[in-house]
């Protein structure tokens, strides 16, 4: 599971970002429409003014036209309205527009002019709209008006948009981050609470804030499910343990009686039969013992009997204990010990775990094969113990299952055993907070135990 460390990855943050982006786009579109409508309206007003001015000048007699245009353009000292009269060749006759703007056709349609108007006295620096009109005598009348008001209003609208967006989005995002941190913190708390549950401790419950929101609702449902699972598992485990526990007494008594009979009949053929019966009961009793051992280990508190231990000594003892068995089977049993960090654990239990792993390796390795017990420190500074054999290996799809109680793969069914050894190993490893994995291929299995060093 990936830890939820980045606030930007939370659902709330993502929603806030999406909402903010939509809001910004909406604002831009809305104000764009307002600006467009405003400029269209103002352009219309200017165009009407230009048209009415042309209409007014049109009534002037052609011989007075020059004087009228000249005087009108001089009256207009503020330069709000520009005028120019040009002959058929486009030469300037009168007015304060010095040259005929090229974009203007003589069609009485007002246009925005890109180039500045040139005047005998000054230049127009602002944007203008202009209109050209053909007079009956072949001259051309040009009128123009500054349209900077439209730009001014556009600027005001754009500024308004920028202010609006920054005043909305920046506090919005900051607020969003703050809002998102609350749920993220709770999800992190839930994530932390789930860790021990994932490792098998079903007594843990998810934290509930008490606000009754959807996270609380979900945590409540998970908690109820956990309670039910714990109850069911407890029942199943209780039944298994009780069967194992209760049957031990009658079986032990039966064993005692058979043993006594066997002692009486020792030198007779019945003795062998009785001996076999005692052997069978011993097998059943040892399975019950192993089953109860798994339960006992799973129930144990973490603090039990832990000390700073030397894993090398434990492994040397395991090697010494099993070496004769491997030798009897013509197997090479190698021990390779590197330097290991100090570890906290129960040496008795670790001996039991490695004894089970090595015992299995020897059992499943054919005569003449090899078993290796290798301890080293890995790149992360943790102790790592590998038990590798040259047996048939464990198929990848069985590697999880082998740690379950009573699981026996196809290869193992023919061998003696009860399928509880690895369950014991797994329980011991879990109790220590170590990790256990199985690998290898058809050339053999490799069981690895990784033991984090004590700081």
């Amino acid at each position: 599971m990936r830890p939820l460390t980045d606030a930007w990855r939370s659902t709330t943050s993502r929603l806030i970002i999406i909402y903010g982006a939509l809001f910004a786009v909406w604002c831009v579109v809305l104000l764009g429409i307002v600006q467009w409508e405003t400029s269209r309206y103002l352009s219309g007003v200017i165009d009407q003014m230009l048209a009415s001015r042309v209409h007014y000048l049109e009534g002037t007699a052609p011989r007075n036209m020059r004087a009228t245009v000249e005087s009108a353009s001089q009256i207009d000292v503020q330069g709000a309205m520009w005028m120019g009269l040009f002959d058929a060749q486009g030469r300037h006759l009168a007015g304060n527009i010095a040259t005929l703007p090229k974009e203007l056709a003589e069609d009485d349609v007002a246009r925005s002019l890109s180039a500045n108007l040139a005047s005998p006295t000054r230049k127009v620096t602002a944007r203008v709209r202009g209109l050209a009109h053909a007079l009956p005598d072949g001259t051309r009348l040009v009128v123009a008006k500054e349209s900077s008001t439209i730009d001014g209003i556009g600027t005001i609208i754009r500024h308004g948009l920028l202010w609006g967006l920054s005043l909305t989005i920046i506090p919005g995002l900051l607020g969003g981050v703050l809002i998102a941190r609350g749920p993220a913190r709770r999800i992190r708390a839930i994530q932390q609470a789930m860790e021990p549950i994932r490792e098998g401790d079903l007594s843990v419950r998810l934290p509930i804030s008490g606000t009754g929101d959807e996270v609380d609702l979900l945590a409540g449902t998970v908690n109820a499910t956990l309670t039910e699972i714990e109850r069911l598992l407890g029942e199943v485990k209780g039944v298994t343990d009780n069967i194992a526990h209760d049957l031990r007494t009658p079986l032990t008594r039966m064993r005692t009686r058979l043993y006594r009979l066997q002692q009486q009949f020792e030198s007779r053929p019945e003795g062998d039969q009785l001996d076999a019966c005692v052997g069978e009961i011993d097998t059943v009793l040892s399975r019950f013992r192993a089953l109860l051992r798994v339960s006992e280990l799973e129930d144990r508190q973490r603090s039990a009997c832990f000390e700073t231990m030397d894993l090398c000594t434990v492994l040397r003892n395991v090697h010494e204990f099993y070496a004769p068995l491997a030798e009897d089977r013509g197997q090479r049993f190698e021990l390779e010990l590197g330097r290991l960090p100090p570890l906290r654990g129960d040496p008795q239990l670790m001996f039991e775990a490695f004894a089970n792993l090595v015992g299995n390796a020897i059992k499943f390795t054919p005569d003449g094969g090899a078993v290796r017990l290798v301890a080293s420190t890995d790149a992360g500074g943790d102790a790592r113990v590998d038990i590798a054999d040259t047996g048939p290996g464990i198929p990848p799809d069985e590697r999880e299952a082998v740690f379950r109680r009573f699981y026996r793969g196809d290869e193992t069914r023919a061998k003696p055993g009860c399928g509880l050894g690895l369950a014991i190993v797994s329980a011991i490893v879990r109790l220590h907070g170590y990790s256990l994995s199985v690998g290898g291929n058809e050339q053999g299995a490799v069981f690895s135990v990784t033991c984090p060093a004590t700081a």
Binding site: R255, Q262, V278, C305, Q348
Partner: protein
């Protein structure tokens, strides 16, 4: 005749223990209460005590602690339904000499009781053990059979010492595992048999009368040939 005190509240178990100890030549008295058991253990000169862990009146752990505090060194075999290693450790630390979990085979109980009795009789400070023509020198750390030096590995030496200290007495595989290797769980394989087999090859070689005998359904005994 050696005397045993059985402190056990379950009547059926108590009867089994008394009968089994009786069959091995011990006179056993039974007490069902912890407090009374402590009083009896303090008064009478018993050679061995079997003590249940959970008792009415006074807990088994308290009984054995009290006995040790009052310098009573009678061997105590603790018996309990609690099989957890921690429980064993607690029982042994409190002063118990051995620990047996319920349910147990009576011959296992008898074997453990006899080992404790023998240890008491012999004392643990003998430096030379001898069984028939087999000799073990604990100081010089060597073993001889009919004046012929035997080469033993450290484990084999410890194993032989345990068998010789309890010569003539059946010891179970579990007892061997606990005493020689010092671990308290079921090794579950035939490893102990393999170790015994190797030792047997070394000490009962060609030309020697076999000393190590397998007792079917029980364990092993080291004894001079009849």
């Amino acid at each position: 005749m050696p005397r045993a005190l059985v402190i056990e509240d379950d009547e059926v178990t108590a009867r089994d223990i008394v009968a089994e100890l009786g069959a091995h030549g011990l006179v056993a008295d039974w007490v069902a209460d912890g407090r009374e058991g402590l009083a009896r253990a303090l008064e009478d000169g018993y050679d061995i005590i079997t003590l249940d862990r959970m008792l009415p009146g006074m807990d088994g752990i308290d009984v054995v602690s009290e006995l040790r505090q009052r310098d009573v060194d009678t061997p105590v075999l603790m018996i309990s339904a609690l099989s957890d290693v921690d429980e064993r450790v607690r029982g042994l630390r409190a002063g118990g000499d051995d620990y047996l979990t319920k349910p147990f085979a009576p011959d296992e109980l008898a074997a453990r009781a006899e080992v404790l009795l023998r240890r008491r009789r012999q004392g643990a400070n003998e430096t030379r053990l001898r069984v028939a023509d087999l000799e073990l020198d604990l100081v010089r750390h060597n073993a001889q059979r009919r004046d012929q030096e035997l080469t033993l590995l450290p484990t084999e030496f410890r194993l032989l010492e345990f068998l010789m200290r309890n010569a003539g007495q059946v010891v179970t595989r579990q007892m061997i595992f606990e005493h020689v290797w010092g671990f308290h769980f079921d090794p579950g394989t035939n490893v102990i048999d393999v170790h015994i087999g190797r030792l047997r090859r070394k000490i009962d070689g060609v030309g020697h009368l076999p000393l190590i005998r397998t007792v079917r359904g029980s364990g092993y005994v080291l004894a001079p040939a009849d």
